[in-house]
């Protein structure tokens, strides 16, 4: 939902970042307002996941230039846990398995960290269980997931649902969903997409990272960006995704490098 007067949630300017001394992001510019859903598409290695990790504060990714403002404040100086507490959420492409740590306890501790930041009363185990069960219904998840270790032995689809469950509990301002559609069959995709749509509010924003149009059939983006060579090559509406589905990325990449060719 585009509203030019809405709050500017995220402003990325000339962002350069590297991992293992390998430059990946080479000048990303992006503005996201409240109420908007942005999709970022691009080939493998184009920098999509790097962008998500940099925004979430992964210690392996080093920012060499540029700035990121979250609601007007410098995001890059904050520790990853602080970013999460103030409302930045990353739905992982490959959610991490943590044997021995109960999913229920993990969800409760993380939810209470966010609630503390919001100055809302923290939940005891009983009150939290009530809350989490209501959110489970949103994603049609079996309560048995709560008893298991975090993501351990979960199928690909179950892991992705568990990510969206966390999003539902943390109620972030800005969510980055990194290839949430990968590993999902069509039914699971619809359930997850319905959950994301339900959680999308006029005061929040979402950045979807995906390879495929099929997710965008379920979640309609306001903007579609194509990444390549570590920057955003083209921005358009949802019709751009359809064009990519039909013609691939090659024409766009050629177009963006052609001015440099002799």
């Amino acid at each position: 939902m585009i509203n030019p007067d809405a709050e500017l949630i995220l402003e990325i300017s000339d962002l350069h970042a590297s991992v293992d001394d390998q430059p990946i992001l080479k000048g990303v510019d992006l503005k996201i307002h409240a109420g908007e859903i942005h999709a970022v598409m691009g080939r493998n290695g184009s920098g999509k996941s790097t962008l998500s990790k940099v925004l979430a504060g992964h210690p392996s990714y080093k920012v060499s230039k540029g700035k990121v403002l979250f609601r007007g404040e410098d995001l890059l100086v904050l520790e990853p846990e602080v970013r999460a507490r103030i409302g930045v959420f990353l739905g992982f492409q490959y959610p991490v398995e943590i044997p021995g740590v109960s999913n229920l306890e993990f969800l409760r501790v993380s939810t209470n960290s966010r609630r503390k930041q919001l100055e809302v009363e923290e939940l005891d185990p009983f009150a939290f269980e009530e809350l989490v069960r209501s959110r489970l219904n949103l994603l049609q998840m079996d309560p048995i997931f709560l008893e298991r270790s975090v993501n351990e032995g979960f199928s690909g689809g179950e892991k992705k649902r568990n990510e969206i469950l966390q999003m539902a509990l943390l109620e972030p301002i800005f969510s980055i969903l990194d290839e949430t559609d990968s590993g999902l069959d069509i039914d699971a995709l619809r359930i997850v997409a319905a959950g994301v749509n339900e959680l999308s509010k006029k005061e929040t924003a979402i950045l979807l990272i995906t390879h495929y149009q099929r997710l965008l059939n379920e979640i309609t983006p306001d903007y579609v960006h194509v990444m390549g060579f570590g920057k955003i090559l083209r921005t358009g509406g949802s019709e751009l995704a359809l064009e990519l589905e039909k013609s691939g990325y090659e024409w766009l990449e050629e177009e963006s490098v052609s001015p440099l060719r002799p």
């Binding site: 999460a84 992982f92 740590v101 943390l170």
Partner: protein
């Protein structure tokens, strides 16, 4: 006379034994166990203290071991009848508890529940040492130490499939060296939960030896919690003999010992049996904690599933040696051993060594060992959910330990194992 002879021999071999308070406080061999006491002392007489050149003691802090022998031996007789400060949990226990404390007969004024009977002196005479022989550990130094100072043995025969869990609490005494010895005969088809708790005291040493014969088709779930305190030391040998088609699950937790050493000796004597071993060593400060396991398959189609974990912080040292022996007779053995270790300080040290001796040609044996820090991706995943670094570490360590702790027999939960383990890590 015998005492004098041993003194002279020790002087020749190892001054530390001769000079030790432990040695000088040992009573003259006597009673029903005199033969065993003499055998132990003769062995020590010959061998002396362990040396760094012995593979089994290569990583051991021998000075710390020696210091435990500077404590006087406390004979388990009525004159030492002072029981104090045994921190038993107050929660209700739906089982049967025996406390073995210096100076006390654990069976005094106790009615054994149905299915448990005390072994007579004559029975013990025929059984004592048999499982040690079967496990080929009669010539081991720790066994010899226990033999040298065994003056009382708790022997039980266990029979039935609806038995209450047995909790055996082994108490130590401040400023003293104590020894305990237990023989358990688990009859065929018996199902039985055993939880042993060994408690250290300040400036104490404890030598423990368990012999357990598990009959055919029997099923034993055995837990071991060794909880020390500052300047406490212990060494225990658990010798287990498994008959055909028996199932033996063992879970151990060791923590808080200035020096702690657990030796597991298991033999599947006729095959078709299964053994599951789970172990956790947590060392802090300058502690040194050792876990050595040896399993031998003396029959076909035996199964082993072993997971050993350790957490080492500060300046501590954790050691694991896991030996698996598969002779020719043990065809179609399936054994897996995994040693996963967390090294959480640059000054701490972990030594882990799998040893596989495989002669049979139709077997499946796997092993692996890792020493690492907490996984960065797991930590980041938690941070990305707003969890503080401190809480993330706590949750990850709890989860790491939980994988072992949850396999302890039910009564383990009332000992607050997890909260105790993570204190100060």
């Amino acid at each position: 006379m015998v005492r004098r002879r041993i003194c002279i021999a020790f002087k020749a071999v190892s001054m530390s034994f001769h000079d030790s308070k432990w040695f000088n406080s040992l009573p003259t061999p006597k009673g029903d166990l005199e033969k065993i006491q003499r055998r132990g002392r003769e062995y020590l007489d010959l061998i002396g203290m362990p040396k760094k050149s012995d593979e089994a003691w290569r990583f051991t802090d021998l000075s710390r071991l020696s210091s435990l022998f500077n404590l006087p031996f406390l004979l388990n007789n009525p004159t030492n009848k002072i029981r104090k400060n045994i921190p038993l949990p107050s929660s209700k226990f739906e089982g049967f508890q025996l406390v073995i404390s210096p100076g006390f007969d654990p069976l005094e004024s106790v009615d054994l529940p149905d299915g448990f009977t005390q072994l007579s002196t004559a029975e013990l005479d025929g059984i004592l040492g048999r499982t040690i022989d079967k496990c080929s550990c009669n010539d081991e130094w720790l066994v010899a130490v226990n033999n040298s100072c065994t003056y009382r043995v708790l022997g039980l025969r266990i029979n039935g499939d609806n038995l209450p869990p047995l909790e055996l609490v082994l108490d130590s005494r401040e400023d003293a060296f104590v020894a305990t010895r237990i023989v358990l005969i688990v009859e065929s088809k018996t199902k039985f939960d055993l939880f042993q708790v060994l408690l250290g005291k300040n400036n104490s040493a404890h030598s423990h030896l368990l012999e357990m014969h598990i009959g055919s088709d029997a099923c034993v779930n055995h837990g071991w919690l060794a909880r020390g305190t500052k300047e406490s030391g212990y060494f225990a040998t658990l010798a287990i003999e498994q008959d055909i088609r028996s199932q033996y699950a063992f879970s151990s937790v060791q923590e808080g010992w200035s020096f702690g050493r657990l030796e597991q000796k298991i033999v599947q004597e006729s095959g078709y049996a299964s053994t599951a071993l789970r172990g956790l060593q947590v060392s802090k400060g300058k502690e040194q904690i050792v876990n050595n396991s040896t399993i031998r398959f003396d029959g076909p189609e035996g199964v082993l599933d072993q997971l050993q974990k350790a957490i080492a912080v500060d300046y501590s040292h954790s050691i694991f040696n896991g030996s698996i022996e598969v002779p020719r007779i043990a065809q179609r053995t399936s054994a897996s051993q995994l040693s996963r270790n967390l090294l959480l300080s640059k000054h701490a040290r972990i030594d882990t060594k799998p040893q596989l001796k495989i002669v049979a040609d139709d077997v499946k044996c796997t092993h692996g060992a890792t020493v690492s820090q907490l996984q960065e991706e797991q930590v980041f995943y938690m941070l990305s959910r707003g969890i503080s670094h401190e809480d993330a570490m706590r949750l990850l360590l709890k989860g790491y330990c939980e994988e072992i702790v949850r396999t302890l027999p039910v009564s383990g939960s009332r000992w607050g194992v997890l909260s105790n383990l993570l204190e100060g890590v």
